[in-house]
């Protein structure tokens, strides 16, 4: 039982069911596991389905999008088939979430202290006073100066960095086992971004909280996570340990992403953009979704969709040509 992962996503397929019973698949058969206390990153461009995958775990799918098939097992219980009130009991003390925009993700007409205290009052049965004390303590732990006074502030009275700290304090107030982060640092200045990442890391280490971190920023994943999955057009194309994937990518898309990101250790290294655009959800290519943009694509790639297969120890990639491409050009 101790080997059981904290979170296990199996064949998760998300999509829109239309009135005439046809379906549009947005996320197709995503598999990954997150162990207790692990930090797992999901990287991809806008529209790759990374945020939707996260929202499916948090039970926050937008109206119209539903889980078409697959399962999300949290400590052996399938979240997808769990009744609504059972899931709501998990939201907060077991699974918490941090959003991208700290400005819009906080209720503008409620004091931040009250917003932090809300979850402990509901889930831990704390009284108003106790919950408020806990909120101030959480704010202190997230490094907010003068937390007792700031607890009475409204979100608009705080800076972006402080607001994101409030979000973190709120998410961790009930010591969840799993923290879902949807681009939590994208809206912040780079310097603040770094502080917030360090803070998240430290707090999660203290409480043993596992992290699922969705971002388009490779640098952020490199700083924060140990394992990662790269998503493209609704599917995982490569999965492995962050350091190893960065050093030696085994999927042309991952390689393209890394080549297009600046690397300060190699300042003369020329940035290469991936040609073309990700495919439209309503018009996905028949074969490998990346084939139309892939410089290595062969005829076979346009016909069938490659499965995610082991290519190295601790590494999986969804590419027919992975062996040929990367054996020929070792990194």
């Amino acid at each position: 039982m101790s080997e059981q992962p904290l979170l296990s996503v199996r064949g998760l397929t998300l999509g829109i069911r239309h009135k005439n019973d046809s379906v549009t698949t947005i996320v197709d058969g995503v598999d990954f596991e997150v162990a207790e206390g692990e930090r797992f990153g999901i990287v991809g461009e806008s529209g790759s389905g990374k945020s939707l995958t996260l929202r499916a775990i948090a039970n926050l799918l937008p109206r119209g999008v539903e889980v078409l098939s697959g399962s999300i097992d949290y400590r052996g219980r399938d979240l997808v088939r769990m009744p609504a009130d059972g899931r709501r009991r998990l939201a907060g003390p077991e699974i918490a979430m941090i959003f991208q925009e700290p400005m819009t993700a906080l209720n503008p007409v409620m004091k931040v202290g009250e917003q932090i205290a809300e979850s402990p009052r509901r889930h831990l049965g704390l009284g108003k006073e106790e919950a408020h004390r806990l909120a101030v303590e959480m704010m202190r732990r997230t490094g907010i100066p003068d937390p007792a006074r700031r607890a009475h502030a409204y979100p608009h009275e705080l800076s972006g960095g402080l607001r994101q700290r409030i979000m973190i304090a709120m998410a961790l107030s009930c010591s969840p086992k799993l923290l879902l982060c949807d681009e939590p640092t994208t809206a912040l200045d780079v310097t603040v971004q770094h502080q917030v990442l360090r803070l998240l890391e430290r707090l999660c280490e203290d409480t043993g909280t596992a992290l699922v971190f969705v971002t388009h920023d490779l640098g952020v994943v490199n700083q924060t996570c140990r394992e990662l999955a790269v998503m493209y057009a609704g599917g995982i194309v490569e999965r492995g340990k962050v350091k190893e994937v960065f050093a030696d990518p085994r999927h042309p898309y991952t390689k393209g992403l890394l080549d297009s990101a600046p690397d300060f250790d190699r300042p003369d290294h020329e940035l290469v953009a991936i040609p073309g655009f990700p495919p439209d959800v309503f018009d996905r290519p028949a074969g490998c979704a990346f084939a139309p943009r892939c410089v290595y694509a062969v005829d076979h790639c346009l016909e069938a969709s490659p499965p995610l297969e082991p290519v190295l120890p601790d590494r999986e990639a969804a590419c027919f040509e992975s062996a040929t491409i990367f054996e020929r050009t070792p990194a």
Binding site: R88, F99, V109, H156
Partner: protein, 321 residues
Amino acid sequence: MLHRLRFVPGRIVQAIPVAIGVTILVFLMSHLLPGNPAVALLGDRATPDRVAALSKHLGLDKPLWLQYLIFLGNLLRGSLGESLSYQQPVSGLVLHAVPVTLSLLLFALVLSLLISVPLAGLAATRPGGARDLAARTFTLLGQGMPQFWVGIMLILLLAVKVRAFPVGGYGDTAADHLYYLFLPALTLAIAMCPTIIRSLRASTIQVLGSDYIGTARSKGIAGAQLFRTHVLRNAAIPTVSIIGVNLGYLVGGSLVIEKVFAVPGLGSLMVNAIFARDFPIIQAVALFVALFVVVVGILTDIVYTLLDPRVDLAAAQGAAS
């Protein structure tokens, strides 16, 4: 919190020129109406001598500007003149009628909120669904029916057929008042609801789609608690100003509705005074209604400020001047 209400004294000072303007308009308008009040009082067969004598007694022979100054002077001393038809001080008559009308308006406002808030909430949770359709049909109907007709239909249905409510009047005790005012208040509420529902539905849909509702859901908050603590206050902000504007219209409507239900408020007083060409009463009622609208404007700003911590009207005023 309170420091954000610094704008209130300034707003009251601003209201003074508005009030003076209102007195001028009120004074002039009643004098531009055809028919000399002295003639109206004495009847068609009065001799010119008697008309002239009464006009002199009432000060109607003096130049208009002097009449206005006298009117204003009396007003400042709290005297609104003497009613021509009742032969009583106007201030007493109006003071008697004001609480009636104010209770009616307040009752109507409470009823319209009791109807609108749940309907708008239900409509917004599933836009385009059956409940949304029902709420929208109700708003269309409410908007399409003239107030006085709704009043008459309610009398026919609930007072004459079912006999659940009185046909009209005001009663003697406080409980009586509530009972007697229910139908007129409901009539006004039905007229007021469509605007509130429309605005509140739209803002609720918008709030439900916002990120902080996702945050609240990620904390396990749902259903009525979500609506109460996170949705309603945010959705109410734009609606409050709309209610403020519409309260002004509601006063106009209440004047007619009071007549339909024989409620002894300002409306009944006003309508009777118009038929009797009783200038002082017309002036007093018009003045009161205008000042009421000004006060409602200030109250709206106060409520708005208290609801939304981001609003600082004092700072806005300082920046403008």
